[in-house]
Subunit: 450 residues, 2 copies
């Protein structure tokens, strides 16, 4: 059962499908887990994938589609009418997956799908989920859950649970609500198994329950579930009424996406790039930051242009331009990365002033060490003492300034609700390149007396 | 219940503890979730935290300690004898948490703790977990699980489960084993509730079970659990015998650590830095990469030194040094980031040659676009045509070379089982700085005819 899909299996399947032998293929694929079927679909040609989907279990096919990249899914869905999406896919999916899938369609088709769902209760559940904007707890939740009324007795409760559980794949928790559907607490299966069937629920449930409001951010939901090691968490509306639940698998996917986004921004990529994306997609993801770097480079050229005469007098000044620029960039990236991670994990950052003072300390310490190293190395390599002094003192100042900029910018962006991760990567590097060059040439003028 | 700990509460607590009023403080703290108690301990002074721990519930205190940073935990544990660690902490912890805690102690104390555990079965469980190296599935697993023999009947099974479940906080799954403890499958609670009590387990369990071998990597375990949306996964030894289970909360923590590590490497940080670490810790985490950048800068200075005469002839050549260096760095980081993420998510990377060819395509496309932009911009800014041509053609070549280097190095490291993330950040930037300068000056000699 732990055997996963390999390339050979996919090749054989592709060949079989092309010769039209669907029966055997479908049988083999039907035995796989939907996550593995998704891998198979991803490996097949688009036409074969579409053809295969028509011959396998509807439910497995629907779950497999949810496991695909959005790109591939939308290509496959092009051939489906709204009615087909409703009947073959949506009705086989959990409400949160169904809502995600419907969200990817254009408005007209979305309406068509919702109108075609035969189970009107499910249609209503999905429509309710569609109102929550991306990145909220509401957008992460599903409607499937088991809940009991506090006024019931254990007996009625078990009966109700069995009925509700039939429609739900995994029972994570049993939630207790009052007559107005307000969340009161949870009921443990252990308690249920060990209590007399006549006991009222109100006497046995636990009021200790962590929940999130649907309008809170997805990050909040992920943080709470991670902090308290929850496998599922109830979601309430502004009145405290139970409207859904978030399961850990959705939070894991969400966390992975968030981490990837930060990593991409730090690496100068503007879109989610997969290693198997086309040359054009990859270029589009990279070009924006490259152009920013390019104009930063032109600005740096203008800065140096101001000091052209100095370079004429002492061409050796140019030797250390890459060093100054690189060190400013590296320090800036380090500082901003610490801030971005601190903000992401919601840790206590202290006041802006105290952070800057601390960063000043780190900058001075790193700067002085690097400055001493550079003086030693320069003299050893035979550079003139006055040049070594210019480089060392510029370096100290550059490191301090870069550390302060790298700290200030993400905190500033965060204050104005802009993603602080934007400040990492090429942006901070370019800024510090330019500042560093100014510092270097100003100090060289002061010390060398041009 | 969703009220979390705030600074005011911690301040009041600190004041109360300092005046020796433990009773009220302990009562308030005992009502908190261990994760919140960990936050409280983190916010208090070290002495107050130690004092508080002696006055609250042992079990809550033990769980809270597990939620702390390793630094703080080891400071608190300094005051504990091996016997105290065993009796007050380890015996209140799940085996995986206990093993993690014991792993942080020095060898002598480790032995002392294991010898002092009164429940010898627990001591054996923990000792068994300690054999697995960091980063393996075995290191992530715990011994607490509910298992039943395939030869039992449903009735005996429910009885056994109740007995086993008493010692276990959460029952994630019921595993089915044979007489030799080999994993056969899982038993769903739903099935158990709906089947006659005399049915043999062999007839009702499901053979579909995803598992991992204890010696497989932690990444493998995380990938499988994520792929199949598992909340818990059984772990087997080389004989297929059930030795433990991994729960999703541990995988979430593991994934977060991995993502953080990659992000740190890409940002030039060698240690896990928290935003509230001391100046000295932060400096230590940053200095190594800064020194590498420094020596890279000195190497770049030597490269430029070779062309000192050219700079004397045309100081304007120096203007574009930062641009060439920055673009090489940015492109290299982008390329290596895509590879590192692709390797981490285990996606199909194709052959080395096909990747390099694709990267060549992306490089040429980005290079030509940037080259055209730079020619336009340079002429607009009034630079000489021949200089603009030198910069543009160097830029195209630098972008292509940097893309190839950024792709090749992480793939190469990965092939030799070195963490490919090492190739990101300052390393790739520095390499590309130096290569870029060579390209720039060689092309300028060729085109300008120095």
């Amino acid at each position: 059962m732990n055997q996963e899909v390999n390339q050979e299996f996919i090749n054989q399947l592709e060949a079989a499908i092309e010769t039209g032998s669907f029966e055997k293929s479908a049988k083999e694929v039907n035995e796989l887990h939907p996550a593995d079927i998704a891998e198979v679909l991803d490996g097949l040609s688009l036409d074969s994938a579409k053809a295969l989907l028509e011959h396998i279990d509807e439910e497995k096919g629907a779950d497999a589609l949810i496991g695909l990249d959005e790109d591939l899914r939308s290509k496959i869905l092009e051939d489906y009418s709204g009615k087909e999406i409703a009947e073959e896919l949506v009705e086989n999916l959990d409400s949160d997956d169904a809502a995600d899938l419907i969200n990817e369609l254009d408005h007209a088709k979305r309406r068509e799908v919702l109108d075609s769902i035969t189970d009107r209760e499910q249609a209503q559940d999905i429509a309710n989920l569609l109102v929550y904007p991306d990145n909220t707890a509401g957008a992460l939740m599903g409607a499937e859950l088991v809940k009991v009324n506090q006024n019931w007795r254990v007996m009625q409760c078990v009966k109700e649970m069995r009925r509700q559980a039939e429609e739900i794949e995994h029972v994570h928790s049993v939630y207790v609500v009052d007559d107005e559907n307000r969340l009161l607490g949870t009921l443990s299966l252990k308690k249920l198994l060990t209590t007399s069937t006549k006991t009222p629920i109100a006497e046995v449930y636990s009021q200790q329950v962590h929940f999130v409001e649907a309008t809170q951010s997805g990050e909040d939901a992920a943080r709470i579930m991670d902090k308290y090691d929850l496998v599922a968490m109830p979601v309430v509306n502004g009145m405290g009424q139970l409207v859904g639940r978030i399961t850990i698998d959705d939070v894991v996917d969400f966390m992975r996406e968030e981490a990837k986004e930060d990593y991409n921004l730090a690496s100068g990529l503007v879109e989610d790039v997969e290693s198997d994306d086309s040359i054009w997609t990859t270029t589009r993801a990279r070009l924006p930051w490259l152009l920013i770097g390019l104009f930063g480079g032109l600005a740096a050229a203008s800065v140096i242009g101001v000091y052209e005469e100095d370079l004429g007098n002492l061409p050796k000044l140019a030797f250390f331009i890459p060093l100054i620029a690189a060190m400013g960039g590296n320090v800036g990236v380090q500082s901003s990365a610490i801030i971005v991670q601190g903000l992401a994990s919601n840790s206590d950052m202290g006041s802006l002033v105290s952070r800057l003072i601390k960063e000043l300390g780190v900058g001075v310490l790193n700067g002085v060490i690097c400055g001493l190293v550079i003086i030693g190395a320069s003299l050893f390599l035979g550079y003139a003492t006055d040049l070594a002094l210019v480089v060392a003192s510029s370096l100290i100042l550059v490191i301090i300034v870069a550390a302060l900029v790298g700290t200030f910018v993400p905190l500033f962006l965060n204050k104005y609700k802009i993603d602080p991760a934007l400040a990492t990567g090429p942006f901070i590097t370019t800024t510090n390149d330019i500042l560093g060059l100014f510092i270097y040439f100003i100090i060289s003028r002061m010390l060398l007396g041009f």
